[in-house]
């Protein structure tokens, strides 16, 4: 029975690979033939652009999920393996199960996307092939290797346990390496479209394909996507746990999924905190590649996109903190820290207000006249980078404080130097906040080029404080006295909606950023090289983009729900047949030792 399923699933995943190879073979061999091809064909009803957009976005969502989740799944598996805690192994297996269910859908969407390119943008695809043909083979090979290792990893879970666990962990690591390599290859195509390199004026490849791969935005996108994938995987896994929590019928089940949601969210949050820095690096490289593109992105046509992005990020910040605060309630002893909540909330809210302040205002003419210009003398001060960098760093610091308080909610340090340690921790955070604010204010009085450099100091101050605080925190609470075990499963149900809010918001945000990344090319397929002459060459307005993103996100969640439901069906059938896989008892008695 199970073997049959393996074959069937493997078939599903291999089908796209075959399609891909077939499609490539079908491409006209030489340029003579290519010239006869029409440049575009029209996708029925939707139009080619919308079709490609929607499928690419869906494919990307799934791909991000199946690449992101295994990264922390393998880390959790290693934790479980080294600490010999069954529940981590169970959790890791759960996560991989989620990935696994989404695997073939990803491949299917990928091949569909390929079909769309070949069929509806033949000339564009021809051009990309002329540059990247060598990478296609590598991609197919990597995909095959990835499929193979993930299958072994998932199905070998029981078989490769005990003394052979190291092989199993090795498989997990290997599948992640393959997955990341796939990401890097695919990114080279995407980033080449944004910031082409290694080609001559006519657009032909100059030297080796490596120059085209290693273009301005390739490495920043690699880093940004890798981190974002972890965040995304974490939020989706947490949302899944939240969903199961809300539908749970027993305390034991609730406890288990409460914990799973917590871990998923913790993973997401940890990666999320570094994401803005990766985004900043990407932004800088875009500017460095082409100033016009940079300004289109930040100041011009897309300026309001960043206000929406700011609102989404603000909601992610508020939501993450809110979840931690609600989570403290299930920890005896946390009442000590409740008094910190209002001040933290005030900082986060003020930060959010400034963070979301638009620079390009939506104003009526009456308002313009009242303001004496399109700039507001007060609000304008908050709309600039200096203010935003400052508040986002303070928000990160506050979120970190929330997490530190959560960590020590049920613990009392027994170290003799605890008082001094805490004083140093507070001082580190205070100094970091002071540095951030100082450079934020000073940024208004220096010229731009100097101001840009200040953001680096601000980031360093925050990261420095995080490192110092954690370096003290870990020894300080080793072997600490407990004020009581965490009562998993007793968290307020509204916290689970927060997890769902975070997942929805992050997915939507990914769609928005996809639009931004793709939209800044404007009317180019390959920026500055291959013009988009199709009927869809117009870069749509934000409202239209939002509609598309919402629909794609709904479809994505519907598909995910359906796939998880299918996975659940199998599990139920199994549960009826065999004894239920040992799920660790979490309620009571388990005090996570780290």
């Amino acid at each position: 029975m199970r073997d049959f399923r393996v074959v069937r699933q493997a078939g599903w995943a291999l089908l796209p690979v075959a399609t891909l190879l077939l499609a490539m073979a079908a491409l006209p061999a030489d340029a003579q033939e290519a010239a006869k091809e029409p440049a575009y064909r029209a996708f029925p009803l939707l139009g080619s652009r919308l079709a490609v957009w929607a499928i690419a976005q869906l494919h990307l969502n799934f791909a991000a999920f199946i690449l992101g989740v295994p990264i922390f799944a393998v880390i959790i598996e290693i934790i479980g393996w080294r600490t010999a805690q069954e529940r981590y192994d169970w959790l890791s297996h759960q996560f991989v199960k989620l990935t696994f269910a989404a695997f073939s859908t990803t491949a299917l969407l990928g091949s569909f996307l390929l079909f769309l390119f070949v069929a509806y943008y033949p000339r564009f695809w021809m051009y990309m092939t002329s540059i990247f043909f060598p990478t296609y083979g590598i991609y197919a090979l990597l995909f095959f290797a990835e499929t193979f290792t993930v299958y072994l990893w998932y199905y070998g879970w029981d078989w490769l346990s005990g003394p052979r666990k190291w092989i199993h962990v090795g498989l997990g690591v290997l599948s992640n390496l393959f997955g990341t390599a796939i990401l890097l290859v695919a990114n080279s195509w995407v980033t080449f479209m944004m910031s082409p390199a290694g080609i001559d004026e006519s657009g032909a490849l100059k030297g080796s394909v490596w120059a085209a791969i290693n273009n301005y935005t390739w490495m920043p996108i690699n880093i940004h996507r890798l981190i974002a994938n972890i965040v995304f995987g974490g939020t989706i896994a947490a949302a899944y746990a939240a969903f199961r929590f809300l539908g749970a019928t027993s305390d034991e089940e609730r406890a288990r999924y409460d914990w799973m949601g917590y871990v998923g969210n913790f993973v997401a949050l940890s990666a999320f905190i570094v994401l803005p820095f990766a985004g900043y690096y990407l932004g800088r490289e875009v500017y460095a590649f082409n100033q016009t593109m940079g300004i289109t992105m930040m100041g011009g046509f897309m300026s309001w996109l960043w206000i929406i992005q700011a609102i989404l990020i603000g909601i992610l910040f508020l939501g993450s903190n809110y979840y931690l605060w609600l989570g403290m309630e299930r920890i005896p002893g946390s009442e000590r820290y409740r008094k910190y909540v209002p001040p933290m909330l005030i900082i986060l809210t003020l930060g959010f207000l400034i963070w979301a302040t638009p620079r390009t205002l939506v104003v009526t003419m009456d308002e313009v006249r009242a303001m004496g210009g399109t700039h507001h003398p007060v609000i304008g001060v908050f709309g600039v980078m200096s203010a935003k960098n400052t508040v986002v760093n303070l928000m990160i610091l506050t979120t970190f404080l929330s997490y530190v308080l959560y960590r020590r909610a049920n613990r009392v340090s027994t170290r003799s130097w605890a008082g001094t340690g805490m004083a140093v921790q507070w001082a580190a955070m205070g100094i970091a906040a002071a540095i951030v604010t100082y450079y934020g204010v000073k940024g208004y009085f220096v010229e731009s080029i100097v101001r840009i450099g200040y953001s680096v100091y601000q980031v360093e101050a925050v990261l420095g404080a995080i490192v110092v605080v954690m370096a003290i925190d870990i020894p300080m609470f080793r072997g600490a006295r407990s004020t009581g075990a965490i009562r998993w499963g007793t968290i307020a149900p509204r916290s689970q909606y927060v997890l769902i809010l975070l997942a929805v918001t992050f997915t939507w945000l990914m769609g928005l950023m996809g639009f931004a990344r793709s939209g800044i090319r404007q009317h180019w397929h390959v920026y500055g090289v291959m013009r988009d002459n199709s009927v869809d060459a117009v870069t749509p307005a934000l409202g239209y983009a939002a509609n598309v993103i919402t629909i794609v996100t709904i479809v994505f969640f519907a598909l995910v729900t359906f796939i998880f439901w299918l996975g659940g069906l199998g599990e139920r059938g199994q549960a009826a047949g065999h004894a239920h896989a040992a799920a660790p008892v979490l309620a009571g008695g388990s005090n996570p030792r780290r």
């Binding site: 969903f243 539908g247 609102i311 989404l312 117009v538 307005a541 409202g543 939002a546 919402t550």
Partner: protein
């Protein structure tokens, strides 16, 4: 009545996304349209579009403004205001359309009295307009006081062949004689009064031209001689010293020779 978890979560997610979508739709919507690219040949072009394209070419690629002005008498070339009306009467037996085309494609065939014969053929490098561009430019000139009646068929198919083939301006081979140009540099034009060019000249008034062909395009050099002010002055040198008279004092041959000489300075 308990609402199923799936429904509750679904509704919640929809509300959240609906909020984002509503906000994105509530701000004024701006699309980014690609710049209009006029495909002249084969397409249905209105005279107005043609004139607009021609006006663009006049100001940019055509480099016409180096010598010609509209509504202002130039020192090197006639004022083009009202050319559309005047063109039909200038040369007996020639319509406005024919006259303008002749002036663009064979500038030497008829030179307005009082002006030197210095105009280059617009379909040859360095200007190198293609057939459509000549078409649009003619339409624009006709529109200055006359009616636009030029069609693509009026323009010989051979026009712009050189431009289409060559492409890059770097390959321009000018017909001038560098030897003769050197004599003009030292003699008639008096460039050596201010410029140094290799062994010739020494005065530091203007920039050293010994390697000018390496650092400047032929286009720039040609323009700079005719329009010293409009082409900008190299930083560090006084502005407005170079006289703007060469368009009038030099003959077309002398001018071409001088450019040819300067282009040898690498």
């Amino acid at each position: 009545m308990r609402v199923p978890v799936g429904v509750r979560v679904g509704v919640f997610a929809l509300i959240v996304m609906g909020g984002y979508t509503y906000f994105a739709n509530s701000i004024p919507q701006i699309e980014s349209k690609p710049p209009q690219e006029l495909s002249l040949e084969g397409g249905n072009v209105t005279p107005a579009q043609l004139v607009k394209a021609g006006e663009e070419i006049f100001h940019t690629k055509g480099s016409c403004e180096i010598c010609h002005r509209i509504g202002q008498k130039g020192t090197r070339a006639p004022d083009l205001a009202g050319i559309g009306a005047r063109a039909g009467k200038t040369k007996p037996g020639m319509s406005a359309k024919q006259y303008i085309l002749e002036s663009l494609l064979q500038p030497g065939a008829y030179v307005v009295e009082g002006y030197p014969n210095i105009m280059p053929q617009v379909d040859k490098p360095p200007i190198g307009l293609n057939r459509s561009e000549v078409w649009a430019l003619t339409a624009f000139l006709e529109s200055l006081g006359g009616t636009v009646d030029v069609t693509l068929n009026d323009i010989p198919p051979t026009v712009g062949a050189a431009a289409a083939g060559g492409g890059a301006a770097a390959e321009v081979k000018l017909p001038g004689d560098p030897k003769a140009g050197e004599a003009i540099f030292a003699g008639k034009a008096g460039c050596i009064a201010c410029h140094k060019a290799g062994k010739v000249g020494a005065s530091p008034v203007g920039p050293d031209l010994s390697h000018i062909a390496k650092i400047q395009t032929s286009e720039y050099i040609m323009k700079k001689i005719l329009d010293p002010v409009g082409s900008g002055t190299v930083a560090g040198y006084p502005k407005g010293v170079m006289p703007p008279i060469f368009g009038q004092t030099l003959t077309a041959k002398e001018y071409v020779d001088l450019v040819a000489f300067l282009l040898t300075l690498k």
